[in-house]
Amino acid sequence: MTTPATGADGAAATTRTWRKPPMIRNRWLRWLIVVLGAAYIVYAVDDVNLDIDRMIRGIPKAIDMFGQMVPPDFSRWQLLLEGLLESLQMAIFSTAIGVVLSIPIAIGAARNVAPKPIYLLFRGYLGVVRTLPEVLIAIFFVKAFGFGAFAGMLTLTIASTGFVGKLLAEDIEDIDPGQVEAIRATGGGWPMVLLYGIQPQVLPRYVGLCIYRLDINLRESTILGIVGAGGIGATLYNSFGRYEYDFSFAILLSIIAVVLVAEWGSAAIRARIT
């Protein structure tokens, strides 16, 4: 851009530059973190014995295994279907129960709604449940209640309350307090505030969370069988154990199909309601 001659010289002499301030202000600390990070990566790569030789030797074995996988063997489709249906049942039942239980849990775990002791109690529960991976909970329930779909169902129910409870609680904490204030001002008691002040504000998100969780539970239910908690996972694990790779592949393809359909359906529904 050309500027008029008058006064332009003075302005050009004191051109002021600007840079975005760095996230970590201390220059030494900034570089120390970069160096430490690089050093750790070097150490970690060394420590896990990244063995190129072993990788190369593994390749033919892998190719051999894939060779045995095709063509997939669908001849025992009854067994396959049985496993899939069990997984589906686990997923649907646990979602249905889990998302209902999530409501009181979420209300208890919302800071702006629950009294402090109750808030801490429910946040504690959510913390524990969300820390434990599903497979770990499943192992515990298989030990407690024996092999089968019941253990898997319990696992997914608990995990669902953790997931939906936490996210719904956060959503309740984010609501517009003005609407709650207005319902309180009409003389509505606590149940009315819940019904008119809070529920309409979080309902679409809650429905979205439920569908998303159903999608997750469908995926999880196919894997829990590996630790003995019922569903198609057990069938898959056994087929690998017996080197029936063609059957394994058939099972894998079915799982992929179910998960894809679930994910696509869930995304389509959630896009519609929010």
Binding site: E181, R184, G187, G189, L195, P200, Q201
Partner: protein
């Protein structure tokens, strides 16, 4: 009707919002509380229905000591106090009808509220009120699909369906354009006269306050520094409330318009509402022109 005695509120942060304010409201009139931002106007209003818990002082409504009530009793008491908000505070995802009927939540059971089975007379009243505030036909629109002025009309209907003994109004026009602001204040003031309903109105626009109020309360730094008729609000008073500024224009024009409004109300009734609105707009334009 309403007595407020030495009301004080100190927030946990140590901020003294109210330092002993008193007010007696013994007839149905529009009382406007004016004062700069942070003077304690909102706190004052919210201490009356205890959305904000006062630290000291008493609020007495029709002989009942509001400040002494327990939580449950207070909810029951709030049914008799209608409230209108600055940001409307409608339940955005519900219909206009549900929002109006939510004013009856203190009177119905949980199941009635859950399944929207409000008593027939409530529904009939809701329709009447929607008609009165100029929103007939809007009952099934969602609140978030309305304009600001329409939302505030719903807010007014919601407060009135409570059949309150007093109307608390917190900055009803701050989120509205000047024309809509005047229409809404006119509606509130007309409804107050129709129903003999005392109104305690919070407003920071002095011009509007003087135009619509029959009594003005000046708040400054948590204290009542003026209490009297709008005629008595002069430059000295405004300076006491707000500090130094040029007040002449605002007061003179507002005062004239207030007189006109009173004449109109005495002369015509009800059906001239739209005409009145139109002449309000003309007045406003003249007023703006005079200011320049």
């Amino acid at each position: 009707m309403l007595q407020v005695e030495n009301l004080a509120k100190t927030y946990p942060t140590g901020q003294q919002a109210l330092k002993g304010c008193s007010l007696t409201l013994d007839k149905s009139q529009v009382v406007a509380m004016i004062g700069p931002s942070g003077a304690g106007k909102s706190t004052f209003i919210r201490c009356i229905n205890r959305l904000v818990e006062p630290t000291a002082g008493r609020v007495v409504l029709d002989g009942t000591d509001v400040t002494a009530l327990s939580g449950d009793q207070m909810a029951k008491m709030r049914r008799h106090m209608g409230m209108i908000f600055q940001e409307y505070n409608l339940v955005e995802r519900l219909t206009v009808m549900e929002n109006v009927l939510s004013g009856r939540l203190g009177f119905v059971s949980f199941w009635q509220a859950l399944f929207r089975r409000f008593p027939q007379q409530d529904v009939a009243r809701a329709f009447e009120l929607l008609e009165r505030v100029g929103l007939s036909g809007y009952e099934n629109n969602r609140a978030d699909a309305l304009s600001g002025g329409q939302r505030q009309r719903v807010g007014i209907a919601r407060a009135l369906i409570q059949e309150p003994k007093i109307l608390l109004v917190d900055e009803p026009t701050s989120s509205l354009d000047p024309k809509t602001a005047r229409t809404i204040l006119g509606l509130i003031s007309d409804l107050s006269h129709e129903r003999g309903l005392p109104v305690l109105l919070n407003i920071h626009d002095v011009g509007l306050a003087l135009m619509f109020a029959e009594r003005v309360l000046g708040l400054s730094e948590g204290e009542v520094v003026f209490d009297g008729p709008p005629r008595g609000v002069d430059e000295a008073i405004l300076t006491r409330i707000y500090g130094e500024a040029d007040w002449r224009q605002t007061i003179r024009h507002a005062g004239e318009e207030a007189d006109e409004r009173r004449d109109r109300r005495a002369g015509a009734n009800g059906d001239s509402h739209d005409g009145a609105e139109q002449s309000d707009i003309d007045e406003r334009l003249k007023w703006e022109a005079a200011r320049r």
